[in-house]
């Protein structure tokens, strides 16, 4: 996709250069594909306008012709009226008023006929039907002019006779003679004149009718042309429109197909950080947001990445819109090149993804119009890479772990792990118990101390240093808690964190031992006969023989030389949980013997003892129900004065009280919580909980402890306990 976007980019760059050159041309031909339709429409308008102008002109002419026809018709009537008035004059000589009216009418009729005839012949003003003056055009047709000429000839004599009559009447002369003359003219010419005026009317009508039919032809032709033009526009441009629509539709389909198919998220962002209307379908899946179109990109980002990163991204996009800055130069600055996004889920959690955003300028006419954003979901890739790194790291730490565990037999380790989990569970259960008062809260520290101290002993006996150190650190935390006056539950937080770390570490060890056991399982299967396996598993590697290592280990740490002699440890088969407790007792007593009992080689030399001290551990069956554990060392014996001093130091009892105590009472103090004669706290001594734990175990099983000691010679602990076998354990 990166390739695709860069190709797009090159194309857009090239087109921008071409665009600059052809800018002018482009603007000129902007309407190129519409020029045809524009010309056609212009032609259509021109045609319609011409037809309209012509129509207007011809209809104006026709209206002028109508006046002519009307006046020609009036001429017919005037000729008849002239004749009629002459006859009236002839018959009405007795009534002077009627006579006078006839004279006036004759004068008017003659004048009107004469002026109208002249106007028709030469063109000019005449009186209209409404007595208003109208201008008549000269009659244009030859036929009309001929008719007019003939009429004028006839009218000439007729008019002269009428004029003579009117002159006689006006002068008061005898008019009978001139009246007779005029009547002769009327008789002979009236009908002729009427015929001519009739012809004129018909002629004028014909002219007007021919103009009207011409107008119809013009209108028909004009409208036909307009319709043809319109049809042309319709057909041609509709086709063109349909074609371009098809192309557009095709392009749109392709774009949609690309946007629907492409695996990346694609979208455009404008200068205001607004996302364009189109984006690839996959973007919704990648960003986990439905309505992306039109959203503000920065707001979208702020919901997925930290505000700081979103702000940096905004700055980067702003730079992309800055024309002065070269895109290649800032490419490396992309803050979203690989970013972890957290998409909030409706259920309250976050969906984590790794996304890769790439940005490219989109150019239009040489300007940066948008920034094309491509988003890829690289979660799987990143996770795989991380898993690879993690597994490499794991392998390394596992090898480290392995080297620290190699000296311990897998079955012992397995047992240790099981015991550890039990111990953690007990500690966790102590923490889980509700405790609202300070003493109850404080009591927890004491209980946990016992647990972790035993655990530390076991870890030390197996030389599992990491566990031992961690347990020691927890003991430190607990010591702080115990010394705190106003203790609250919250103070246990560091302890819980330590416990969690220890559990996590134990889980790692467990995974490794399981792998080792699997390996061992195959090798054992191949090499060891089935009958021997039981002995290997149950007898020789049952966790007792490492006590020797444990003793030597502590001796070495404390600079002592010791010979450890153990006997009878495997003679009694005990319930595994019970055996674990017995082991814890032994571990504690042995630890005490090494740290408190046996002196340093130098001291032993001074007291003429062999420089190598001796510790005996013996387990013996007293009866079917009872057994005895004896731990004896040939060391310094119990130092009662040191116990006395420590008791005074603790401030728990008054000095007088302590002075009154005998050795037996002082001895009881070593089983007290928090009481130790060690000068300082070390991994092996000084907490003062070990002996208390021993006592707790013994009391739990209603056992008995006997201590005998001789200063400078020896110290012996004899513990009597019941025998609990596996079957009894289950039954219990």
């Amino acid at each position: 996709m990166a390739k695709l976007s860069s190709t797009k980019l090159e194309t857009s760059e090239r087109s921008s250069k071409d665009g600059a050159k052809d800018g002018q041309k482009k603007v000129g031909s902007k309407y190129g594909k519409y020029s045809g339709i524009l010309i056609s429409v212009a032609l259509f308008i021109l045609l319609d306008a011409s037809v309209m102008i012509l129509n207007f002109y011809v209809s104006f002419e026709i209206s002028a012709d109508a006046i002519g026809i009307n006046l020609a018709g009036r001429q017919r009537m005037l000729s008849q009226r002239t004749a009629k008035t002459l006859y009236t004059l002839h018959s009405e000589t007795s009534d002077s008023k009627a006579f006078q009216d006839a004279v006036t009418e004759l004068t008017n009729t003659k004048n009107l006929f004469d002026s109208t005839l002249t106007a028709f012949t030469r063109g000019g003003e005449a009186q209209g039907a409404n007595k208003e003056p109208v201008v008549l055009p000269k009659v244009s047709s030859d036929e009309g002019q001929n008719t007019l000429r003939s009429a004028a000839e006839i009218w000439f004599d007729y008019k002269l006779s009428v004029d003579a009559l009117l002159a006689d009447i006006k002068e008061g002369r005898d008019f009978n003679k001139s009246l007779d003359k005029a009547l002769v003219q009327a008789k002979s010419k009236n009908l002729l004149l009427l015929g001519h005026m009739n012809d004129l009317t018909i002629n004028l009508e014909n002219v007007a009718s021919s103009k009207a039919s011409r107008l119809r032809i013009i209108q028909t032709v004009g409208i036909s042309l307009a319709i043809i033009n319109f049809l042309f526009i319709m057909l041609h441009f509709l086709r063109q429109l349909r074609d371009s629509d098809l192309v557009l539709e095709q392009a749109r389909k392709e774009t949609t197909e690309i946007l629907q198919t492409v695996n990346e998220g694609l979208f455009l962002v404008d200068e205001n950080m607004l996302i364009g209307n189109q984006h690839s379908t996959h973007l919704i899946d990648i960003l986990g947001v439905a309505d992306i179109a039109g959203q503000n990109f920065q707001h979208l980002l702020e919901n997925m990445i930290s505000e700081k990163d979103a702000e940096t991204a905004r700055g980067f996009i702003e730079l992309l819109f800055d024309k002065k800055i070269k895109e290649k130069l800032i490419g490396d600055l992309n803050p979203l090149n690989l970013i972890e996004v957290n998409i909030a889920q409706a259920s309250g959690g976050f969906l984590n993804k790794y996304l890769q955003f790439s940005f490219a300028r989109a150019l239009q006419d040489g300007d940066i119009s948008h920034v094309l954003v491509t988003v890829q979901d690289v979660t799987e890739k990143v996770r795989l890479e991380k898993a690879l790194v993690e597994s490499r790291k794991n392998s390394e730490s596992q090898i480290e772990l392995l080297t620290s565990l190699l000296h311990t037999h897998p079955s012992l380790l397995q047992e240790f792990i099981t015991n550890s989990y039990n111990c953690y569970n007990r500690i966790n259960n102590i923490l889980r118990q509700p405790a609202k008062t300070t003493p109850l809260v404080k009591e927890k520290a004491v209980s946990i101390f016992r647990e972790i101290h035993n655990f530390k002993g076991e870890a030390a006996s197996l030389k599992l240093e990491y566990f031992e150190n961690q347990a020691h650190a927890i003991e430190d935390t607990l010591a702080d808690l115990r010394s705190k006056a106003d203790i609250t539950g919250n103070d246990y937080l560091p302890l819980t964190v330590q416990l969690e770390n220890l559990i996590s570490y134990t889980q790692q060890v467990q995974q490794l031992t399981e792998k080792l056991a699997l390996f061992g399982h195959y090798t054992n299967k191949a090499l060891v006969p089935a009958s021997e396996k039981k002995i290997l598993g149950n007898r020789q590697q049952d966790g007792w023989n490492h006590l020797g290592d444990f003793v030597q280990n502590i001796a070495q740490r404390n600079g002592k030389l010791i010979k450890f002699v153990a006997s009878g440890l495997r003679d009694i088969e005990l319930d595994p949980d019970y055996a674990q407790q017995v082991k814890e007792i032994c571990v504690q007593l042995l630890r005490n013997a090494v740290t408190h009992g046996i002196e340093s080689p130098e001291d032993r030399e001074l007291t003429e003892k062999p420089i190598e001290g001796r510790i005996d551990l013996r387990l013996a069956k007293l009866s079917d129900e009872e057994m005895e554990i004896t731990v004896m060392d040939d060391g310094n014996g119990l130092d009662y004065s040191a116990i006395r001093e420590k008791a005074i130091e603790s401030g728990r009892w008054s000095e007088e009280e302590i002075d009154s105590w005998g050795n037996k009472h002082l001895l009881a103090l070593i089983f007290h919580e928090g009481f130790s004669t060690a000068k300082e706290v070390s991994k092996d001594a000084g907490r003062g909980v070990g002996m208390e734990a021993v006592m707790n175990h013994v009391l739990e099983h209603r056992g008995k402890i006997t201590v005998s000691s001789r200063r400078g010679r020896h110290c012996r602990f004899v513990i009597t306990l019941p025998i609990i076998t596996a079957r009894e354990g289950i039954a219990a």
Partner: protein
């Protein structure tokens, strides 16, 4: 995860209770619980966290505590809706406290309220959560934190 980080979430809850009329809120000893069997009371408000640590933190409380808490802040309605809102408020206070303590590096989701325990979408099965008991009046509630680095 450090105890300082855990402390931030505990402080958030304590802060909320300190705004009620009975300020006497106690924090119990924190313990661990396997996510296979998550710890929860009746109503739970969860916030998702992402960034250097990721996972979730939730406050869970029994109805009776929430009803009493509502009354103590002067609310007379104690319907389910109000209980959910209240748990959401506590979750919001936790988230606000975390936001001001951790800064912009972390992303904290809006609270989601559910009945009972969150499912394994929030609590990866192979992990453990820290449970910090909260004692208020005679009632027990808890803030549970499950974060991985």
């Amino acid at each position: 995860m450090s105890e300082q980080t855990l402390q931030v979430f505990i402080d958030g809850v304590v802060r909320f209770f300190e705004h009620t009329n009975d300020k006497n809120v106690k924090v119990g000893t924190p313990y661990l619980v396997e996510n296979e069997t998550p710890a929860a009371y009746d109503v739970t408000g969860i916030i998702g966290i992402s960034g250097p640590y990721r996972g979730c933190v939730y406050f869970t409380a029994p109805r009776i505590l929430l009803k009493h808490l509502l009354l103590s802040i002067g609310e007379t309605e104690t319907t389910n809706e109000y209980l959910f809102d209240l748990v959401g408020e506590v979750a919001n206070t936790i988230s606000g406290n975390a936001r001001s303590a951790f800064g912009h590096e972390f992303m904290i989701s809006v609270p989601a309220m559910i009945e009972g325990a969150p499912d394994h979408i929030h609590l990866p099965k192979n992990m453990r959560s820290y449970v910090i008991p909260i004692y208020w009046k005679a009632y027990h509630a808890a803030v549970v934190i499950c974060l991985e680095c």
